[in-house]
Symmetry: C2
Subunit: 331 residues, 2 copies
C-alpha cells in the first residue's frame, strides 16, 4: 500500500472541501471534517478520510440534508432529545453534548436520544466529550444488517458499536469503542483492500462457512464477538438505538435506504452519569487503583491509550495515496 | 447425580428455615428465600438452594447483618441511593425498586446505587421487576477476583454479571443475565461437582494453561467471554459497581473479606429507562418486529424464554439430594 503524508490541517481541509462541494453547509462540513480529521489523528484509518466517499454519496443522492440545523430540547431534567433533521450526526452531537452534560451534572444521570440522523463515525468523540466534563459516557448506534445473530447465518444486526468512557481528571479518559461484531466492517474492508487475512470466527462466506478471507466475508456475513453473549449485547444495541429512542432497527434502516453507499438514517442512544454525584469524593483516585493493577500486567494497555498517545503527535499522518487522489478529484 | 422432588413451597421453607436458624430476621430471610425459590423455579440451580450454605456462612460468621433494615433515599429526581446496612442484597433491592421505577417513569431515566450489600443471586430479579413496570432495566455487580483480564493469567475481575431486561406489555420481558466470564462460577462449580467437562476457553489451570477440566479451573482462573472485548465489558462492570457507586473493586472485596465462603461486601449499579418517555408511542409493538425476526431463525430462542417457560410450571422441582440433606441439617 502506497501512502503519503498529510498534515492534520490538510486532512481537515480535504474532507471539508469534499463535503462543501457535495452540498454541505459550513457548519455541517466543519463538524464532519473535524470528526474525520480526529480519527486520522488518532490512528483510526477506518473512520478517517476512508469514510468521505460515503459521506459525499449521501449528500449527492439527497439522502442526507447538508444544511441540517438540529436543535436539542430538554424534555425532562434528565432527558435531552435531538431531532437530527436528516443531517450527518456530528453537528447534532456537538450541539447536544453540553445540554446532556449539564443534565447529568445536576441529576446524576441523563440520556440523549438522537433521531433522524446519519452516523458514520466512531463513538468515542461523544463519550470522550462527556468524560472531559467529568462524566462517564456510554453510547451506541446500530447501522445496516451485516452480522448474523449467534446461531444464524443471515445478517440481521448491524456491527452495532458501543463506547464507554471513564473520566480521569488531569489525564486522558479511559475509553473503549468497539463493534459488537467480531471485527468492525471498516477493518474488514481495509483488510480486503490491503490483501490481509482476518482471524477465523470473524465471519461466514456466502455459503455460511467460516473463512479467514475478508473478501469472502464481504460477500457473506460478520459474526458477533463472543458468540451468544456478544450476540445478546448486539441485540441490546438494536433495541437501545432503535425503539428506545424512537428509531428503527438495522434491518429497517436498510429497507429505507437508497443504497448510495453512505450511512442510512438511524438513532443513537447516549448516557451520561456523574461518579461525583453517585459515588464517593475519592472516586477518581479510587479508580486509578484498578488501572494501576491492569497496567502492571505484562502486555496489557488501558483501552484508548494508543489513540491518546498518537493524538499527542501533531505531525503529519500517512494516508493511502489512492484514497487521497480520489478525494482530490472530489474536492 | 441423585435428585429429589421439592415443591416450590418446600424450597422456600427450607431456605427460610436455614436462614432464620443462622440468625436472619423474618424480612431478610423472606427476601433471600424468595430469591432462591424463584431461581429453582426458573431452572437456575446455580442460584438456587446451592447458594444457601454460602448465605448461611455469612450470617454465622457475622460478616452479614441478618437484621439489616435498608432505607432507600431519593437524592435527585433521577438518583436513588440505598445503603444496604451490610445485609444480603434482596431486601434492599425489593425496597428500592419502586422508588427507582417512579423516578424513571418521571424523568425518563434513573439510577440506583446500592452499597454496603452482599449480592449472591442472579440479577434478573431486579431487571425483570423494572421491566414489569414498563421500564428497561440494566444491572451489574462485581464479586471476588476469579477472572484474568484478556492477556493476563491472574484473577483480577469478578465474574461480573450484567443483566438487561426489555419490557413486553402483556408478555414476559426479554431478559438476559450473564456473567462476563466465559462461564459463570456457579456453573463451573456444578460441572466440577457433577464430573462434566467445560468448553476450552472457559479458564486456565493453576499453571496458566487452557483446560476443559472444571476442577483444574477452580484451582486456576476463569477467562472473560469474547477475549479483549468481553474483558473491556468486565472492566466497565468493575468501575460501575465500584467507584461509580462508592464501592470497592473485586480485588478489594477479597482483601476485606473474612473468607467464610459467602458473598463479600460490594455494590450494585441499576439503571432504569422508560421507552415510553424516550421513544415513540408504538415502541412496544415496534420491538416485537425484531423479536419475530430472531424467532424465525432456526434454533434461536429469545433470551429468558426458557426461564419463563419453566416459571409457568408450578409443580415440584428436582434438587440434588446431597444438597437437600445438607440443608436439612442446617434448618
Amino acid at each position: 500500500m502506497t501512502t503519503q503524508a498529510l498534515s492534520l490541517d490538510e486532512i481537515y481541509q480535504l474532507a471539508f472541501d469534499c463535503l462543501t462541494k457535495a452540498g454541505a453547509d459550513q457548519a455541517n462540513a466543519d463538524a464532519v471534517a473535524n470528526t474525520v480529521m480526529r480519527a486520522e489523528r488518532d490512528g483510526s484509518a477506518s473512520h478517517g478520510l476512508f469514510r468521505i466517499p460515503g459521506y459525499v454519496a449521501t449528500l449527492l443522492s439527497g439522502k442526507v440534508n447538508g444544511s441540517a440545523d438540529p436543535q436539542p430540547e430538554q424534555v425532562t431534567p434528565a432527558f435531552v432529545r435531538c431531532h437530527g433533521q436528516n443531517g450527518h450526526a456530528p453537528l447534532a452531537i456537538n450541539r447536544s453534548v453540553e445540554m446532556l452534560a449539564e443534565s447529568a451534572l445536576t441529576c446524576g444521570v441523563a440520556v440523549l436520544s438522537l433521531t433522524h440522523s446519519h452516523h458514520f463515525a466512531a463513538l468515542w468523540p461523544e463519550t470522550e466529550a462527556l468524560a472531559m466534563r467529568g462524566l462517564v459516557g456510554f453510547a451506541c448506534v446500530s447501522y445496516m444488517p451485516m452480522v448474523a445473530p449467534a446461531g444464524g447465518r443471515e445478517a440481521l444486526f448491524g456491527t452495532n458499536p458501543i463506547s464507554f468512557a471513564w473520566p480521569r481528571p488531569n489525564n486522558t479518559p479511559l475509553v473503549f469503542d468497539m463493534a459488537t461484531s467480531a471485527m468492525a466492517m471498516g477493518e474488514v474492508q481495509i483488510a480486503a483492500r490491503d490483501g490481509h487475512k482476518v482471524p477465523l470466527g470473524t465471519g461466514l462466506d456466502a455459503n455460511g462457512e467460516l473463512t479467514d478471507d475478508p473478501r469472502e466475508i464481504l460477500k457473506g456475513v460478520l459474526l458477533p464477538f463472543g458468540a451468544h453473549k456478544g450476540s445478546a449485547i448486539s441485540m441490546m444495541v438494536e433495541l437501545m438505538a432503535g425503539p428506545m429512542v424512537g428509531e428503527g432497527f438495522s434491518f429497517e434502516a436498510q429497507e429505507g435506504d437508497n443504497g448510495d453507499g453512505g450511512p442510512p438514517q438511524g438513532g443513537e442512544f447516549i448516557l451520561a452519569i456523574s461518579p461525583q454525584i453517585l459515588g464517593s469524593d475519592n472516586w477518581a483516585e479510587h479508580a486509578e487503583k484498578l488501572f494501576a493493577k491492569l497496567e502492571s500486567i505484562d502486555g496489557i494497555r488501558l483501552p484508548g491509550q494508543r489513540r491518546h498517545k498518537m493524538r499527542a503527535d501533531l505531525g503529519a499522518r500517512e494516508v493511502n495515496s489512492e484514497l487521497v487522489e480520489k478525494l482530490q478529484t472530489m474536492s
